[in-house]
Every structure is written in C-alpha cells, then in structure tokens.
C-alpha cells in the first residue's frame, strides 16, 4: 500500500486537495490501479518502435489570413468577471 506522503504528492501533481477522511480510500484505490499498471513493466518487448497516435498526419500550418473570428461578446460569455474590455482574473504573481 502506498503511504500517505505519496498520496499527497500525487494529489499535489494533479492540483487536488485530499481531505484526511479520504486518505485511506485513496491509498487503497491508487495502490490498486498502480499495481495493475505495473503489469506492463513485465512485458518483454524487443522492438523499440513507439506509437503515440493512430494518426500519421504531418503537421498542418494555418494560412496567414484572417478567418472567422470570435466576437467580444462571445469571448466574454463564460468569464466570471468582466470590466470594460477586460476579463478580470485573480492575481497570479506574488
């Protein structure tokens, strides 16, 4: 079973809080999944080729022309706070 410190570390990586009363549940569940995942480490694969995606498309570059644009009204639609022409966001620097 993974320890509490590791659960907190994993939660921190995912930017989540873990409440104390959830700790044992997550210890068990994360251990179950990580134990399952460890099975792939035992597979013997001789080939070094990898597959990231089934698609083999090359990169596509956009033409440098103005196309459909998003209106200001639309762009503001999901913002929590708007002031004039700006979306107000929390301070992100100390």
């Amino acid at each position: 079973m993974i320890d509490e410190g590791k659960v907190r570390h994993i939660a921190d990586l995912a930017k989540l809080n873990i409440e104390d009363d959830e700790m044992s549940k997550y210890q068990k569940q994360l251990t179950d999944i990580l134990t399952e995942i460890d099975k792939i480490l035992k597979v013997d694969i001789k080939n070094e080729d990898i597959m990231i995606s089934p698609s083999d498309n090359r990169n596509v570059y956009s033409l440098d022309v103005i196309e459909n644009h998003i209106s200001k009204n639309d762009a503001f639609k999901n913002a929590k706070r708007v002031k004039g022409d700006y979306i107000v966001v929390p301070k992100v620097i100390e």
Binding site: I10, A11, L13, A14, K15, L16, N17, K25, Y26, K28, Q29, L30, D32, I33, L34, E36, I37, D38, K39, I40, L41, V43, I45, N47, E48, D49, I50, M51, I52, S53, P54, S55, N57, N59, V60, I70, D74, A75, K77, N78, A79, K80, V89, P90, K91, V92, E94
Partner: protein, 474 residues
C-alpha cells in the same frame, strides 16, 4: 401510433408528402422524455428545437435525415447550448462555437433535442459518475445503461430519438449500445473530426453514431465523417457511402475470432450467443478461424497509462481562471487551482487525473509512459497482422450484459474491466461496431465487429447481414 417509431425511410416519405411535419416529431420526442423519466438528458433544447422545426416547414425535404430529432452527448460543444461533460466544473459552460460534427448535422437540418447525460468527462462505464445523477436503462430501470455515453444510448433505446451521437475512448459507444440493445459504432481514429469534442484522451477519442439499426447507423456516419482542417488528426481518406455494401453477399468474407475474446473471463451465455453467429456465418460459407492476437491481456494497464496520462494533461485546463467553476476561497494561485478542482471534479475523475499526473511525472514518464507507447505499437501491429489475412474480427462486445445500478462502486478497477474487450480497438485506432445478437435473461447481448482502417463499410455489410438473419428467425 408514434411516427418516430417508424423506420427512417418511411418517416422521410411522410415528411416529403407533407403527411407529417418536423414539429410532430419534435413534439413526440419531448413527450416521450416526460413519459419515460430516465434522466438521459442534462440540458434540453426545447425552445430552439421547436423554432427550428417550424423553420423547416418552409424548406424542401432534401435528404433522408431532414427534420429528424437527434440527441448529442454532453461532451460535444454546441453553440449557445450548455455543455457540461456531466461535470460540476463545467456546470454553467455555454460554448461559443459548434463542434464540426454539430455543424454537419445542422447542415442536414437534423434537430437537436438536447444534451445527453454521461459519465463525468466520459470517465466511467455505467453513467453513475455524472454530476447530474445516473441515467436509467429503459429495458430495466434498476440496471445501468452502460457508459460513458449513457444518455445517448438510453434515449435511443427508449424511442425518444432515433439517432444520437456518443464518444468512445475505451468502449463508451459500444458498451452502452450493447447494454441497451442498440447499434453503436466507433469509427476509425481520424474518420470523424474531434474539433469541439471535450478531450479525455486525444489519441483514443472518436465520435460515433448510436442508432436502432445498422442502416440508420451508416446514414449518420455518412454525415459526420470527413477531413476537417481544425483537427490535425482527421483523415484525408475519402468518405465512402457506408450503406453501399449492405445487402451484398457475405460468403467471401474471411473472419477472425480472437481466442482471448472467447475465453473463460467472458460470461458463458454471452459466448454462446456469439458462437451461434459464428455457426451461422460458417453455414453461409464464410471462413471463420480462431486466432491469437498478442498482448490483448495487457489492454487494461496499457489503457490506464495512455488514457489517464492524456487525461491528466487535457484536464489541466480546468483551473478556475479562464472558464468553468471558480471557487472564491483562496490565498494564492495554487490554492485557487486546488480548491476549484477539488470541488469541481468527481471521485472517478480525480482518481484518474492523479494516476495520469503521477505516471507522467519525472522518471515515471520513461518507466511507464514510454513502455506503454512501445506496447501500444506491438498490440497494434498484432491487429494489423491479423487484418492483413482477414476482413473482419468478431467476438463479444462486453464480458456480460447490463448489471444493477450501484454495483461495486468503490472498486477503482471495475470501470476499466468493463472495457476489457473494447479498449484494444481504441489503442489500435480501428473501427468497431456493437450489434445486438440475442438475450441473456431478457437482457441484450452485444456482438463486436472490428474492421480494418477506414473499412466501416465492410463492418456494416456483415452487421446488416446478421441483423436481417436474426429478424428472419424471430
């Protein structure tokens, strides 16, 4: 009699000769939502649907899908229509554009009835991880409808709409289709644009049709397929008429059955139903061979690394800053992220993004992720090898039929094991369909038909043959 219970060709004729109007179909759909009470919708599009139906009265019936109601899984964005992915974090999200598949169905003048309930961010196999409560299975309300496209399957099975769109990352179209006795197809990766689909695992996700029968499934695939410059991974491969091989003789088809798909892990009666079909095909003159496909037994841990790794990256965007839920109680930016995400995401999603973040962090990326990419390549090559000798692969869609709501909810592995037979197909990016082929204790059993890349037409050819054969038997 309800017009929506008729087949599509008949409805189309009635629309053409003005015997019925699109508004009649829309009214029937909304009436049935109220009658059935399955919680298969998160957001209804009633006002707009009625408006659209009225507008269509002035237009010529120019295609077979004209004026027909359709339901859309709630992880496909719809302009000005709330799209939540069944998550608290997107509870008030109003998209400002239409996904490419939505543009395409609107061009055919189909009418969107609403956004269907689903597992949160498509993570789950029962519909129970939805923030908006679980969806019920119309065959038996005490059973799960399957997931993650729970509402999309439930609403077609209940006769609310003849068509719905789902998404499939590890089985999320095929498994609920199987549990609800429907036809569901996951197209070849790249066949259908993912532009405007809320990403779960970008290298696995595909949009596909869920319908009452094979023919109608192909009709919807015809509409949603095609290259899209907004999706780098969409294919330039020519779009076929996917109905074109239906009715053609199947006796020349060479069919493989993976031994793994008929092993003891699969319920005995489910295997029997599939074996009946195998015998039917042999009698018809098809070559059917049992084969081994290497590495299938590693599909679940492979999926956990690939899908959860990609998910952790895709879901990093929900940070309380740009859109979606924002919790006001925070002292610094890190607290804002954490407090918002902790309240915004449900348990299944949290668990999955934790695992995903962990296996991509530091040295783990090499140990787990890189190894998984090699394994994915090997498994895919194994499929390709079989499909170089055979036209199609068949087996069961699922290990069993629909089960009770609330089963093993604390088991973190359960939702993965439900997708044991469907996940490998997403890994390889192949197309696959689930077709109802019988019943176990009055619950539908789904058969899986897997095809080669961009050969959805051949899948439909076989599915159509089997569907008709089974109809004759009744």
């Amino acid at each position: 009699m309800r017009y929506l219970d008729l087949d599509i060709k008949t409805i189309n004729e009635k629309l053409k000769n003005k015997e019925i109007k699109p508004i009649d179909l829309v009214n029937e759909a909304f009436a049935r939502i109220d009658e059935t009470n399955l919680n298969c919708f998160i957001t209804l599009n009633k006002e707009e649907a009625i408006k659209k139906a009225k507008e269509l009265e002035e237009k010529e019936v120019d295609n077979i899908l004209f004026g027909l109601p359709i339901a859309i899984k709630d992880n496909i964005v719809t302009k000005d229509l709330r799209t939540t992915a069944a998550s608290h974090i997107l509870e008030d999200f109003i998209p400002i554009y239409d996904a490419t598949v939505i543009k395409k169905i609107k061009e055919k003048n189909m009418i969107i009835i609403g956004k269907t309930n689903m597992d949160e961010f498509a993570m789950g196999s029962t519909g129970e991880t939805s923030y908006f409560g679980n969806t019920l299975n119309p065959i038996d309300k005490t059973l799960v409808p399957g997931g993650s496209s729970s509402g999309s399957a439930s609403c077609v099975a209940a006769g609310i709409t003849p068509f719905s769109l789902g998404t499939d990352t590890g089985g999320s179209i095929r498994q609920p289709s199987s549990f609800c006795g429907l036809v569901g197809l996951k197209p070849t990766y790249g066949r259908v644009s993912r532009y405007g689909v809320i990403a779960f695992a970008s290298s696995l996700d595909q949009v596909g049709p869920i319908t009452r029968n094979v023919y109608e499934n192909a009709l919807l695939l015809n509409v949603i397929s095609g290259y899209d410059k907004n999706d780098l991974t969409s294919s330039l491969n020519e779009v076929k008429d996917y109905t074109s091989l239906m009715g053609q003789d199947v006796n020349n088809l060479k069919i493989a059955v993976p031994n793994y798909y008929m092993s003891e892990v699969i319920d005995k009666i489910v295997r029997e139903k599939v074996t009946n079909i195998i015998n039917l095909l042999k009698e018809k003159g098809c070559q059917v061979d049992y084969v081994d496909i290497d590495y299938l037994e590693y599909a679940i841990p492979l999926y956990q690394v690939i899908a959860l790794g990609e998910a952790s990256s895709n879901l990093a965007r929900y940070d309380g800053i740009r859109y979606g839920l924002k919790i006001d109680n925070f002292k610094n930016i890190d607290e804002l992220y954490k407090n918002t995400r902790t309240i915004g995401f449900g348990n299944e999603v949290k668990r999955r993004i934790m695992i995903g973040s962990y296996i991509l962090s530091g040295e783990n990326a090499d140990t787990y992720y890189y190894k998984a990419l090699k394994l994915r390549k090997e498994m895919t090559d194994s499929f390709k090898n079989i499909l170089s000798k055979y036209d199609l692969i068949i087996g069961p869609t699922n290990t069993d039929v629909a089960y009770k709501l609330g089963t093993k909810q604390d088991d973190a592995l359960k939702s993965f094991y439900d997708d044991l037979l469907t996940i490998p197909v997403n890994m390889a990016g192949l197309p696959a369909l689930s077709l109802p082929v019988g019943y176990k204790n009055n619950l539908p059993v789904g058969m899986h038909i897997i095809g080669n890349y961009f050969e959805e037409d051949k899948i439909y050819q076989l599915a159509y043959f089997i569907e008709n054969k089974l109809k004759e038997e009744v």
